[in-house]
């Protein structure tokens, strides 16, 4: 059996009185692994421990066989895409990614080349010379991905990478992550949407309230989640026309407008996402800019699981 890319042993993290992660022991195997849990479950805490931003309160965590805290040389081998929507807004996408690659020791020319390649992979080359401040939500997600992959790491750690992406970028990112895995690299990707994770990998770690509930292939969880209505927030050029079309579908249980977006409740998320991607590709209702899913779907499943 191959050595795990991440190994946690009795790992705990607490912030004062608040427990972020509670005595977890598990291994993340090579390949693609999904970390699934609702907001506040401990996903981000675990990712921060795995990227050496936090020090364990108890226990230990090894990444690629080494302790990560205080070991900056390990970051040559790791790419991290954080959850927060934070950037140097005045820089262009190209300047920003290249500047970060330079911190990996690359000279100016090779950093610019690596940045261009990474921006190309996330389909952002056309906007490379635009200021990040002028990017849409989906473009910001993609430029964040670009900085994570630009230095060609062995292990990618992605915290909610699909949040806010439009359906086409989402499909492309999922393909890219799968391709990454096929090339023999490892990816740990977190999400609170099972369908997102499932489209990338069957290998899932379920986390809730700071504990790992289950790991491995979790088809049963998938069956469970299908019993719960799934909410999706969609922002498009012509939201009302899109809503009319969606409402005609059998699986759409309800629709509600929130500003310029529509919140759809569906009983068949897989079919819904597939149809949304087709609609985005056809452009029949203009561009679809943002698709997000609140975590109350998954929360319902977890409440059921931990009863």
């Amino acid at each position: 059996m191959s050595a795990p890319v991440i190994a946690a042993e009795g790992l705990s993290k607490w912030y004062g009185q608040i427990i972020g992660l509670n005595d977890v022991t598990f291994e993340v195997p090579p390949g693609i692994t999904g970390l699934l849990g609702p907001n506040g479950a401990g996903k981000s805490t675990f990712m921060k421990l795995a990227t050496g931003q936090l020090q364990p309160s108890k226990g230990r965590i090894a990444v690629l066989g080494q302790t990560i805290w205080g070991n900056p040389s390990l970051y040559f081998r790791i790419g991290f895409c954080p959850e927060q929507d934070a950037f140097y807004e005045r820089m262009t996408g190209l300047e920003w990614v290249a500047a970060l690659v330079r911190l990996n020791g690359a000279d100016e020319t090779s950093a610019a080349g690596a940045a261009r390649r990474a921006l190309g992979l996330v389909d952002l080359l056309d906007a490379a010379d635009r200021r990040i401040g002028a990017y849409s939500k989906g473009m910001r997600q993609r430029v964040k991905m670009a900085q994570a992959i630009a230095h060609d790491p062995e292990l990618l750690i992605l915290d909610e990478p699909l949040a806010g992406m439009d359906p086409l970028a989402r499909r492309k990112t999922i393909r890219m992550i799968k391709e990454w895995g096929r090339e023999g690299r490892s990816v740990l990707v977190s999400s609170h949407v099972l369908h997102e994770i499932e489209s990338m990998t069957p290998n899932i770690l379920l986390i809730n309230q700071g504990r790992i509930l289950a790991e491995g292939n979790v088809h049963q969880i998938r069956d469970l989640i299908d019993e719960h209505p799934h909410k999706v927030y969609v922002k498009a050029d012509r939201t009302r026309a899109l809503a009319r079309e969606l409402l005609a579908q059998e699986d759409v249980l309800s629709l509600a407008f929130e500003g310029e977006a529509v919140v759809v409740q569906t009983s068949k998320p897989d079919a819904f996402y597939a149809r949304l991607t087709e609609l985005a590709a056809s452009g029949v209702h203009g561009a679809i800019h943002e698709v997000t899913s609140p975590d109350d779907n998954l929360q319902a499943v977890f409440e059921y699981l931990v009863k």
């Binding site: 936090l54 954080p82 934070a86 911190l103 690596a114």
Partner: protein, 277 residues
């Protein structure tokens, strides 16, 4: 995989962080504050110049005060005792804090460079941005104020160069001290303000050795201006009369800077930064 995976040295990493940070710092929220802070002495200098042209030179106790003496007083009381510590407090304490508030620290701390290099790079960016903005302000004040009261620009020019050196030394020293405060404390701004405007003025007025625990004590040895005697200005400057030799001051300032940056680096290397969710 990318070739040539050699970690850059701390100095090279710091320079790359400097490149990344300089523009951010110059266009940060603090820039407006910096402009107001540095614009105020220039406005005062304009007022002195206009009033001097209309009403004649400034007089104290019936005696005309030379423009160079007024400039010297402005340098000491406005720049060294107020503007430089304020810049040090507001910029120095925020070197890392700004990245935390903006949630961009993650990108810097997940690269194969030491955290101390991030701190040093941002400290260098602070120095470059403040020095490049303070010195033009001083130069404008010099050209506006020194010619009043029959002052001579040519005669006063060497002291301007010395003032540049002193202000730069002040920015270096205060920046390093407050970088340490920022790296070590959770609410560094309050502690920094208490140090700069509570502890320092008080310690300078107290007899004994306490004044040696201030930055201002060593900076005052670098003041190049002659202090006018037998005038309120002279009396005011008497307060700062006890000064160490220039060599001792420079060595002491270098030690303060070295020690503060070392301690700040240690603090940054060992501290966890938890971003607000």
């Amino acid at each position: 995989m990318m070739e040539g995976r050699t970690a850059p040295t701390v100095a090279a990493s710091a320079l790359r962080v400097f490149d990344l940070s300089l523009g951010q710092m110059l266009w940060s929220r603090r820039s407006v504050f910096l402009a107001i802070l540095l614009g105020a002495p220039v406005l005062m200098a304009v007022a002195i110049r206009v009033l001097g042209a209309r009403l004649g030179p400034i007089e104290v106790n019936g005696r005309a005060v030379n423009g160079a003496a007024v400039f010297g007083l402005m340098i000491w009381l406005l720049y060294i005792r107020f503007i430089v510590p304020v810049l040090g407090v507001f910029y120095g304490t925020s070197l890392i804090a700004d990245e935390i508030d903006d949630k961009t620290i993650t990108y810097l701390f997940t690269r194969p460079i030491r955290r101390s290099a991030v701190l040093l790079g941002k400290y260098l960016a602070y120095l470059a941005s403040t020095v490049l903005l303070v010195l033009p302000s001083v130069m404008l004040v010099f050209f506006l104020v020194v010619p009043t009261g029959e002052g001579s620009l040519g005669a006063a020019f060497p002291s301007l160069l010395a003032d540049f050196g002193m202000l730069t030394a002040g920015l270096i020293a205060y920046g390093a001290v407050f970088a340490f405060v920022g790296a070590r404390l959770k609410r560094p701004l309050v502690a920094g303000l208490v140090f700069a405007f509570g502890w320092e003025p008080a310690a300078l007025l107290l007899p004994g050795y306490l004044k040696r625990l201030t930055v201002a004590y060593y900076l005052q040895a670098l003041v190049a201006h002659e202090r006018p005697q037998d005038s309120p200005i002279g009396m005011l400057l008497q307060v700062f009369r006890e000064v160490p030799p220039v060599g001792t001051s420079l060595i002491s300032l270098a030690l303060i800077v070295g020690l503060a940056l070392w301690a700040a680096s240690r603090a940054v290397e060992g501290r966890e930064y938890v971003l607000e969710q």
